[in-house]
Symmetry: C2
Subunit: 253 residues, 2 copies
């Protein structure tokens, strides 16, 4: 809190000061809400904290921005480190928002840029050099998290739920070849509501480029029933009209 006056005078017109060390430094980090589907249920990747504050509590993975790295690059690097995935380049990674409340870390001023990702077929977390322990946790069993990570996680789910309505994002959560039943499970798990199977099928197939059939292939979804045809993700970005959630509730205000 060294010189608030100078900060205000340096505003707008001469917006950035030249003395880099004139202010209390801000730490800038990224936090990741990495979601996936396991056995039809939404899961989130959590790491266990080894130190104070919040020692022993679970937290979202994350870390500092390196000096020459954008927040997006830092998030992608962290994602690769935590999941052990080799090719993290093509994965869907979306900036949620930035959390900057002064008291969110008791030790110092930390501004965190939050991202969310939706992964298919989750590999076990590496629990590598960084994290003491890392694990996939069912979304509903993610107890109180460290810092404001519970809020970030809830925001992530809201964002993903909203994007399922007007984008083809759901395929990001499926293996390369998937059945329409598996695709429907993504929607049902994220929205927390069952969908009408026939109508869902028609809606998806009626959207050009949402999915593409894999000729001849078939697979059983739950070990039972008729084998289902397989599809691959198509090139389309957004269905039109969108695939709206059943309940009028749950929409953002």
């Amino acid at each position: 809190m060294r010189d608030e006056t100078r900060a205000r005078e340096a505003d707008a017109c001469d917006r950035y000061v030249y003395d880099k060390y004139a202010y209390e430094p801000f730490a800038v980090t990224v936090d990741l809400a990495v979601l996936t589907l396991r056995a039809g249920a939404l899961h989130v990747l959590l790491v266990e904290r080894g130190q104070q504050p919040y020692a022993g509590r679970w937290a979202l993975p994350g870390g500092f921005l390196l000096p020459e790295e954008s927040a997006e690059a830092a998030a992608r690097r962290e994602l690769a480190e935590e999941t052990g995935l080799a090719d993290v380049g093509g994965l869907h990674l979306e900036q949620l928002r930035t959390y900057s409340e002064p008291g969110r870390d008791p030790r110092m001023r930390v501004v965190s840029v939050a991202f969310t990702a939706l992964l298919p077929d989750p590999p076990e977390p590496t629990a590598g050099s960084d994290a003491a322990r890392a694990r996939w946790t069912p979304y509903d069993e993610a107890g109180p998290l460290a810092f404001d990570h519970g809020l970030i996680l809830a925001d992530a789910r809201d964002r993903i739920a909203a994007k399922l309505e007007y984008t083809c994002l759901a395929t990001a959560c499926c293996p390369p070849e998937f059945t329409l039943g598996e695709l429907r499970q993504v929607y049902e798990a994220v929205w927390g509501t069952p969908l009408d199977r026939p109508n869902f099928r028609r809606k998806v197939l009626a959207t050009p480029g949402f999915v593409e059939p894999v000729p001849g292939a078939a697979r059983l979804t739950g070990g039972r029933g008729k084998p289902a045809a397989l599809y691959r993700a198509g090139p389309a970005g957004a269905p039109h009209p969108p695939l709206l959630r059943p309940s009028p509730e749950g929409r953002l205000a």
Copy 2:
């Protein structure tokens, strides 16, 4: 760029280090894309830079976070300073995203949290203590802006355009009492497309709580034609079903 190794080791499990000055400091700022409607056209509030870099170029208003201030609070403070508005508390202010590319400011590492706001009845900018010159500029005439502010401005318009579809945000851009023609102009200006007047009217009136009639009142919209009934913003946050843009194009991918 003092100690990258430590930054990585301090990751995840001991996520935030204790030595506040161990790293190259990041400056954290807010940038504001303040939009409004003047004479049926979308305008944005710009300030003229007096110093290098980008001296003489127009830029979005913005400034540093104070040491004990969240990004939201800083944005609201800047908004009040730049517009001279007395009560900025109830205005719609939305976090867009955070811009963190290493080279976005040539002098030092600046991470900027961008916000957008939609104002009614724009007061002339104060051009107060901060800004050399500030003015409302038609969106289409906002030439090349300083830094990456052109990108931020485009993102702001995209966000506002999307939010008009599934929220009742448009009333934020109208005076306290407005005609349905004025409300429709908001959509047409932001979306850049004409709307069918009768259908728009029905859609708005059919949404409970979107607008409330002001009994007996009437006003001419463009100095011509039949006087139109006046409405006030209602309590509803979101129309259901949403008010979708006409063209399938322009949707985010």
